[in-house]
Amino acid sequence: MARSLAIAELIQQIPSLRAGDDLLLNGTLFTARDAAHKRLAQLIADKQPLPLQLANTAIYYCGPAPARPGDAVGPCGPTTSARMDPYTPLLLSQGVRITIGKGKRSAAITDACRTYQALYCVATGGVAALLSRKVTRSEIVAFADLGPEAIWRFEVADFPVTVALDSQGNNVFELSTNR
């Protein structure tokens, strides 16, 4: 049975959460995908100020489709997380505590989740219309020129995810294929 909890509570509970736990998230997610990661990494390397505070944030790998007038957000499912792997240890070192996407990641991310006491969660890919109903508010917070790759702030209510990598090195994909 999925547990509903606020992002702040989730961050406090990271040490006790395990791969395979089903969660319903409430609070703020920041979207970022390929181009936004590249820019954030460059700003960090150049010691430039960032357009958002990364400490204790949850990053959602997503480039939403445009919203119809009156909708809180457009269709917004997860994209493949592995493409963000080269940037993830750096972002976790800057305080990001949760990443959300879809699919397996490299061994370096398992290690980084242990090192930085972070979680990687997966949402169901390809159900973007359904997930858009779990977002109550959205706005662009940075890199608007990147179009669909801009960074958005999403306020979510009971957004369904499963813990894929926990802070102890467990991996849901190994659990599910080693049955």
Partner: protein, 280 residues
């Protein structure tokens, strides 16, 4: 000779781009329901239920099934008796894609240069496959193809000695290594034969066949079944979280090829097997 205005092609493609992104084809929906009934894993069943629920939300609200509304793969079967009046076909097609994506609240996912990576902001250019056919009609199919599934696709030039066993191993290896990132349950299009450039197209054409349909060449029906059973025995399951349903279908298209070659391509598609066809 029949004269068809280029503007008619543009309007048709604009409409198809929207419909293809909002409506999951019935054959795919039926296959998902059937798969759900056979699933033993509660998590797998839950994911399949989400996918069916998503199709309902997208259809009712006319919003995209997936935020990745794809690169627009356009297949045009152009009757030889047709004269297109106005701009050239490629321009009419691209105009239709740009209009459909803007009007339909669909994401623009194309960058102009593969290394500079600046978004064209209208999802053009489209990928156009043109075939001249007998008659005075134009049949147009739009297949929005997601980036995750493109990255999970593969092409290999085998020696003829590799034969069918080599192909089976290649398909299973590709699904095992890349399948999870293509949002299973998958539809797997396999192209065999042709040439290096033709075989990728064959694999894409294989995706156009309805799920549950049987290929024209009898021997290939058994081969498709063999591959589907082998893929589903991998246990990857919906979204890679375990289960019996790793693929809904495997479709093979084949073509004559060189005596030295056995080209094989795998066009991976996700459960959101979007495609829509209209005839002018």
């Amino acid at each position: 000779m029949r004269i068809i205005p280029a503007a008619t092609i543009t309007e048709t493609i604009a409409r198809l781009c929207q419909q293809a992104n909002y409506f999951l084809p019935f054959d795919v929906e039926d296959a998902l329901i059937e798969a759900s009934q056979k699933e033993g894993s509660p998590r797998a069943r839950e994911i399949l239920t989400q996918i069916s629920g998503n199709a309902n939300v997208a259809r009712e609200r006319s919003i995209a099934l997936c935020q990745d509304t794809g690169i627009a793969e356009i297949f045009v079967n152009l009757g030889q008796e047709v004269h297109i009046d106005g701009e050239i076909l490629q321009d009419a097609v691209n105009k239709g894609v740009a209009r459909g994506y803007a009007m339909g609240y669909l994401r623009t996912s194309i960058v102009a240069d593969p290394l500079d990576r600046v978004n064209t902001n209208d999802n053009t250019p489209a990928q156009l496959t043109l075939v001249i056919v007998p008659g005075d009609r134009i049949e147009i199919t739009v297949l929005p193809k997601g980036g995750g599934t493109e990255n999970a696709s593969a092409l290999r030039m085998f020696p003829p000695s590799a034969g069918w066993p080599g192909i089976v191993e290649f398909v299973l290896e590709t699904v095992r290594e890349k399948g999870i990132n293509a949002c299973p349950p998958l539809v797997v299009g396999v192209g065999i034969g042709g040439s290096f450039s033709a075989v990728g197209k064959l694999a894409k054409l294989a995706l156009l066949r309805p799920v549950g349909s049987v290929p024209a060449a009898g021997a290939y029906a058994a081969r498709e079944r063999e591959l589907l059973d082998a893929i589903n025995a991998l246990g990857i399951g919906p979204m890679g979280l375990g289960g019996r349903t790793t693929a809904l279908a495997v479709h093979i298209e084949h073509a004559p090829c060189h005596i030295a070659c056995l080209p094989v391509a795998i066009a991976m598609n996700c459960h959101s097997m979007r495609r829509m066809t209209e005839t002018i």
